[in-house]
């Protein structure tokens, strides 16, 4: 226990980083995921194709590699610099990588949500004279969102845990600190592990509960 208490500032800072990474990437993934969903059902074949290819590439590549591509590919080779400060730059690169990966899963969830919206809804919207964008924005997507609250919750939990892989782009979040602490305090491995694990349980369990409650509340009665 002493190790965790002694290093509590480092541990808390690490979890704060986890929370920030999760929050910003979640927002980014929601936006990009929605956009990708709209592209996948769009009237333009080229948009559908591009989004389809993107989703299957991002979904099927290990996150380690996605983050490596953002760190080395986008960062070092494309020369994208988001900040002059390395730590800030790495943070945003990690956000880009996590967003690129997670948005593919958001897109898949939303698309299956669209499938639950009865055909009549879109047809009624069109008969009112709404175009594609308006039909999607006002009628079908809101219903799709309400149908997939629970899966989106699972994606958010997965994202929280996936932030541990941001160590690939040099972001010092919880997993990096845990590893360092295990190496320094070799005799307290179990306490350290349980401490960090408890941190993630504290973050993830409430999310599961909240999303479970939300999904029941928001379910579309049909």
């Amino acid at each position: 226990m002493e190790a965790l208490l002694f290093e509590r500032d480092t541990v808390l800072a690490a979890f704060w980083m986890t929370v920030r990474l999760t929050a910003v990437s979640a927002l980014g993934s929601l936006v990009l995921g929605t956009l990708l969903t709209a592209m996948r059902v769009a009237p333009l074949a080229s948009l559908r194709g591009a989004a389809g290819v993107y989703v299957s590439v991002a979904r099927n590549t290990p996150l380690t590699l996605v983050l490596l591509f953002t760190g080395l590919g986008v960062g070092a080779n494309l020369g994208v610099e988001l900040s002059d400060d390395i730590a800030t730059n790495n943070f945003w690169l990690a956000v880009i990588g996590l967003t690129a990966y997670t948005s593919a899963f958001v897109c898949e969830a939303l698309r299956s949500g669209l499938n639950t919206v009865p055909v009549g809804q879109a047809e009624a919207a069109r008969s009112l004279g709404l175009g594609f964008v308006k039909t999607l924005r006002l009628i079908t997507l809101p219903q799709a969102f309400r149908a997939v609250v629970a899966p989106l919750g699972s994606i958010l939990i997965a994202l929280t845990k996936n932030t541990t892989i941001a160590l690939v782009v040099g972001v010092s979040e919880a997993s990096v600190r845990m590893r360092e602490m295990i190496e320094t305090y070799g005799d307290q491995v179990i306490e350290i592990f349980l401490g960090f694990a408890a941190g993630f349980v504290l973050l993830c369990l409430p999310m599961g509960l909240v999303f479970g409650w939300l999904s029941r509340r928001m379910a579309v009665a049909r």
Partner: protein
């Protein structure tokens, strides 16, 4: 809580690999009787221990391992090289998965509690790797405002920040190759770790990278053996002594990292204990 511990234990045990093999008291006996050795080495460090496309290993550590093995009576063909990473070197020795470790393995008091060391066979020092056309970066003090790369979880970079250049920006990468890539690409200014490791990369990118050549620490690389193998330690030290004095040591070092322009040091003094 107890039951969860027990559950862990059972699951760990269930997935653990059991490895039963004949054990010898000393590496000397094993070499003499079996004529075979398993040696733990690094597999991803050019110039020191690198797995090459033909499946063999190459580098200075490998040459040292081969020489020592030969002195113990084991032909190169009968050596099995096994990749070790920093995290599992002690474990491999304790479990007998390897007979000795030659893998940029620094001799420290903490490690002496778990394994015994022959050597040192090389005294390295922390240094900087920079682009060949870089003239301003002459040492760790010049790093203020610069971007320095190191491998995740390593203390050397922290040391630069706390002792030499408070304004340095640190980038942690998972592998040295990634650091080298970013220094070559101009995105970062320098990479820090032991000079001989850096020399390996400088040799791989001859003309594009150079080692600054102002080491600011001392790391003694030893050959790790099982704890309490006193006979083995003596035999390996004797082999190293011979390697130093017959010129093979310098030749091996020259062949491995010479292309980097790295100033080759004298063979170190053995520390027999």
């Amino acid at each position: 809580m107890k039951s969860r511990y027990a559950l862990f234990a059972v699951l760990v045990l269930a997935t653990a690999c059991g490895g039963g093999q004949e054990t010898y008291a000393s590496i000397v006996d094993k070499a003499k009787n079996d004529k075979k050795l398993v040696i733990g080495v690094k597999a991803d460090q050019p110039g020191l221990g690198l797995r090459t496309p033909d499946g063999a290993f190459a580098g200075f550590d490998i040459e040292v391992a081969r020489y020592v093995a030969k002195e113990l009576g084991v032909e190169p063909a009968n050596i099995t090289f096994k990749e070790t990473v920093s995290a599992n070197r002690e474990a491999f020795l304790e479990q007998g998965q390897v007979d000795m470790v030659v893998a940029t393995y620094s001799i420290t008091d903490a490690r002496k509690q778990k394994v015994s060391f022959a050597g040192p066979y090389f005294v390295a020092g922390q240094d900087l790797l920079v682009r060949a056309d870089e003239s301003a970066l002459t040492g760790p003090e010049a790093l203020n405002g610069k971007k320095l790369c190191s491998v995740a979880g390593s203390t050397p970079a922290q040391k630069v920040k706390s002792e030499y250049a408070k304004e340095v920006q640190l980038q942690e990468e998972r592998t040295y190759s990634a650091c080298v890539d970013r220094v070559l690409g101009g995105q970062l200014d320098a990479l820090t770790t032991d000079n001989v490791i850096l020399a390996g990369y400088a040799a791989q990118h001859a003309g594009k990278l150079k080692v600054v050549g102002k080491p600011f620490s001392t790391e003694k690389y030893g050959i790790g053996l099982r704890k309490d193998d006193t006979a083995g330690r003596k035999a390996v030290n004797d082999a190293l002594q011979k390697m130093f004095s017959d010129g093979s040591w310098t030749k091996a070092l020259q062949a491995s990292v010479g292309a980097s322009g790295f100033a080759l040091p004298q063979a170190p003094q053995l520390e027999r204990y």
